[in-house]
Symmetry: C2
Subunit: 306 residues, 2 copies
């Protein structure tokens, strides 16, 4: 058996997925789905964003959900925070991890968070100060780390520029290189991770990959990242969601596809595929969903290990 | 840039794809599509099977197609042959390469070619004798080299048993390990190729991978094979086709998805993606087709390099 890096999935359906659904989902349903994801064996879950409900109405019940899972030790629940106000809400409500997002490409950062990159870097500094000394993990998502919906291929220099600032401000954070459009290919994913993972300035950071399956590269890119030594991979049950501000970037890589890809290998994680598919089916039944992924399209009887 | 093995695509839509279409395709249309695939830059094409038209009616015009491409030097055209009669027809009609298929699993061999593996191995011996001394290449496709639609995971010993015979009978042939069901995962693909590619008895054989995307593993598995050093990868324009005798095994990996995956890398091949997508669209317009792949589902304006 090939030695490799065990995969640790970050399930993003409740954040990246639910925000793509216009129909309001009842708080109780959200909690039930997160509970079911945890029961299926997922140990890291992005459960939402502490943003203004005016920006993303689906996130109106963040505090209630955070409080429900406040003392939970089965899984590490993370929330996106766009600013200090979000970080303070996360701290106050006992969230275990916050995720701060900005882009390597100026055009996408302007579109996604409405600010130039320099302002987002200042925002990261402010968030780091706000959580300084607190018992909360920090992850930084670097969007458009490969390709930008507006500018195409993002130069590696732009990625390195962003990473320099992250290394200075958050030297022990987990950093996710995000393929926001899904247009990265496995060679680029391997190459960029190999480059950054050997840089001295980033030697105390850990790494994650967030990809999309829009162009069919989702699993191949996740495997390329894993092969380069990346343990943490973001996926979404049922392939739900995408970036609403990146045109054409529908389709997160499906969690069940990744679990299937790694099954039986040293990289495989202890997720119950049958239970996971049940949650994905349940998510698919919510009004207004747009699902992705492959495994749910195959008759259940054809799936091994079920 | 990461050093890797340049990919050589074998386009199988005219064989593995067209045989999945019940509606007869006019010979002139088939030739036009093969011409367009060659014009798009594909240098190896499986154009059909010298089988009885009673078994696969779509293959009724094999001789006419073979004769059309008889003197063609732009691409290497290959035909499947189930037996000596097929090999003789291929030789007589100037085909450059024949492909002989049998399975590593007994149940699939019985279902696919109606004979036990031992009889198929004798058939390979007969075919080798029939082409002995002739200027024709031989490839052996080992079906169910990972997973069988009837028996599940195929033991590596069964694969090695088949390979021993291939090594003895056809010591310089190209051997394709075929993921007939699409249920292999990238770790298994890498592991099996790494094993067989270092075996002394097989050191004069060359290697190919034939996969399906049914479970979403198509590109990831192709990348895993390529990473293990496999140059030759089978794909089908538009993801057309599958094995009609392997229940649930629809969906060859799409050629355009693989070209997209390797673009800009050292493994990339000189295929014109825009021209290829036009051929795939044309195939999709044929009556009775069932297409697959990802790139054709994305609005064309969102595709880079077009």
């Amino acid at each position: 058996m090939i030695q490799t890096t065990p995969i640790e999935i970050v399930e993003v359906a409740p954040r990246d997925g639910f925000q793509s659904i216009n129909e309001p989902i009842a708080t109780g349903i959200k909690i039930q789905i997160i509970e079911a994801l945890i029961a299926a064996g997922l140990t890291r879950i992005e459960f939402g964003s502490f943003v203004s409900p005016r920006a993303i109405p689906q996130m109106v019940d963040m505090i209630e959900i955070a409080q429900h899972f406040r003392t939970d030790t089965r899984a590490r629940l993370a929330a996106l925070v766009p600013n200090v106000r979000g970080a303070e809400l996360a701290l106050k409500n006992g969230v275990q991890e916050i995720v701060y997002v900005f882009s390597a490409s100026e055009a996408h950062n302007l579109s996604n968070v409405g600010a130039p990159i320099s302002q987002s870097i200042q925002g990261l500094a402010d968030v780091c100060q706000a959580i300084s000394g607190a018992d909360i993990a920090l992850r930084v998502d670097l969007a458009t780390a490969f390709d930008c919906p507006f500018d195409g291929t993002v130069p590696m220099d732009a990625v390195l520029h962003a990473l320099e600032h992250i290394a200075q401000l958050a030297p022990t954070s987990e950093i996710a290189l995000c393929d926001t459009t899904g247009r990265a290919n496995p060679f680029e994913v391997a190459e960029r991770f190999q480059k950054v993972m050997t840089m001295e300035a980033l030697s105390n950071n850990t790494w994650a990959f967030h990809g999309h399956d829009t162009y069919g590269m989702g699993i191949a890119n996740a495997m390329a990242a894993n092969r380069a030594g990346v343990a943490v991979i973001d996926t979404s049950a049922g392939g739900l969601g995408g970036c609403p501000f990146a045109p054409g970037a529908t389709g997160n890589t499906a969690t069940e596809d990744l679990v299937f890809a790694a099954r039986g290998s040293n990289a495989g994680c202890a997720v119950d595929l049958a239970a996971l598919l049940e949650v994905a089916d349940r998510i698919a039944e919510l009004p207004g969903t747009s699902m992705g992924g492959h495994l749910r399209t195959v008759p259940r009887g054809k799936l091994p290990l079920l």
